[in-house]
Assembly symmetry: C2
Homo-oligomer: 286 residues x 2
Amino acid sequence: MSFVNIKKQYIAIGMLLFVVLFFFNSKPAFQCQITPEVTTYLPTIYGITPTYARLAQKADLTRLSQTLMLVKNFHWIVIEDSEKKTKLVENFLKESTLKYTHLNVKTNSSKHSTASGVEQRNLALDWLRKHLKQSEDKRGVVYFMDDDNTYSLKVFDEMRKINKVGVWPVGIVGGMRVEMPLVKDGKVSGYNAVWKPFRPFPIDMAGFAINATLFLEHPNAMFSRKVQSGFQESEILKYFTKTEDLEPLAENCTKVLVWHTRTQKPSIISPSKLKHPIPPDSHIEV
Amino acid sequence: MSFVNIKKQYIAIGMLLFVVLFFFNSKPAFQCQITPEVTTYLPTIYGITPTYARLAQKADLTRLSQTLMLVKNFHWIVIEDSEKKTKLVENFLKESTLKYTHLNVKTNSSKHSTASGVEQRNLALDWLRKHLKQSEDKRGVVYFMDDDNTYSLKVFDEMRKINKVGVWPVGIVGGMRVEMPLVKDGKVSGYNAVWKPFRPFPIDMAGFAINATLFLEHPNAMFSRKVQSGFQESEILKYFTKTEDLEPLAENCTKVLVWHTRTQKPSIISPSKLKHPIPPDSHIEV
């Protein structure tokens, strides 16, 4: 009998070992469930980008889109300055992995000022209002983005903190290294602008973003052809805020996270000036 | 005795159950191991980028780095044209999530031609050869990238197909919409270049990439100050290949996936020309 008991003890130890192994082995499974992303709420950023046909257009759209691919919850509203949507932009957006809305409206060049982007940005705002009215989630941030500017990923993190209107410095603009709001005790007290410093908001388009719901609260807020050059930013901001209510972001407006870069206009040799004819290249999209 | 035997059978069944449970439970762990990325081999792309201090430098590096963040197995070799590494580039690279090597060498402007990037690219090649000699994996692709050019993500997929030297069109360069190798029956038969078409390889630096191991096989291959302007590409390519051996990529050189863009030089108002003094901004990095 004692022989049988000893054997049972071994069996019991064996079973215990299995139980231990069982739980030990399940560890990797538990570890796996920790991996999924943290589901903190991120308001949608609506990037509004007017664009027009030119030689460097696809290049500019390409590198901007590759930055936007790294921004979570981003919705790109691209508005062509053209009678019809072009195949280049249409195919480009289709091939991108971005969430986008493609619109088009031709600039009415006969009207007053020559400011660019007025009709395009206004059309985007019309679309946005309709979209927000239909959406369950009416929250979001509106940012006016040029297709040749440079945006650090960090500026998108900053603008998600906005309650009403947030501001930050813009590099290389208005004849300055950096044009920026001046901050005193956490509040915007003025600006360092030297180009038309008498503007109500001497800020570049890249230097602010607006809580999207404000566009529903102010249905008439839009850009205008009737104001002088450089006043578009002031024109839209006047509906929503005053200097003293602006929210200074980017470490109290001390960090440059966006740059008003411009792509140099390419100089192309006219085919008529060539000694030898060149092989046709019009079938190749540049 | 039969009673004891039955008990042992139960115990055996119980143990079997544990064994089954053990393997069943380990399933989630196996499933987890399926989720990670498919482990097809991707050769490392060594991007060699000379850079120099200027107002738009950080902007240009920022948007290029944000493209590179989307490229797998990428190693960025950034070489400053300066006596010392600058804080701007050093901090910029540290903050980036990229795999990088930071080097510096000042251009010797007294020497022969004024070609830019010669010393910087040669230093990078020295580093690369040492690195490959020490590495287990000597495979890879070498691509010479300017910090203000535009690179579609697709060009990196293309260059991983290279056996020796791959080529593709470059948009907006040499006075043309697109400068490109001409392809006949899957082979490069010539070029459409109009600027110095007599160059052995009338291709822009952005228009080719080279199998990294070729740099070990040809230890003397490097750039030179002793050649005339526009001949640097020909200078390096002569070590490795002939026109007829080039591998045409990007759908037989019919797609533009890189553009020789240039950032417009900003015009900054001199502080001496200002009516009112501006608040100090030298503490802000642009």
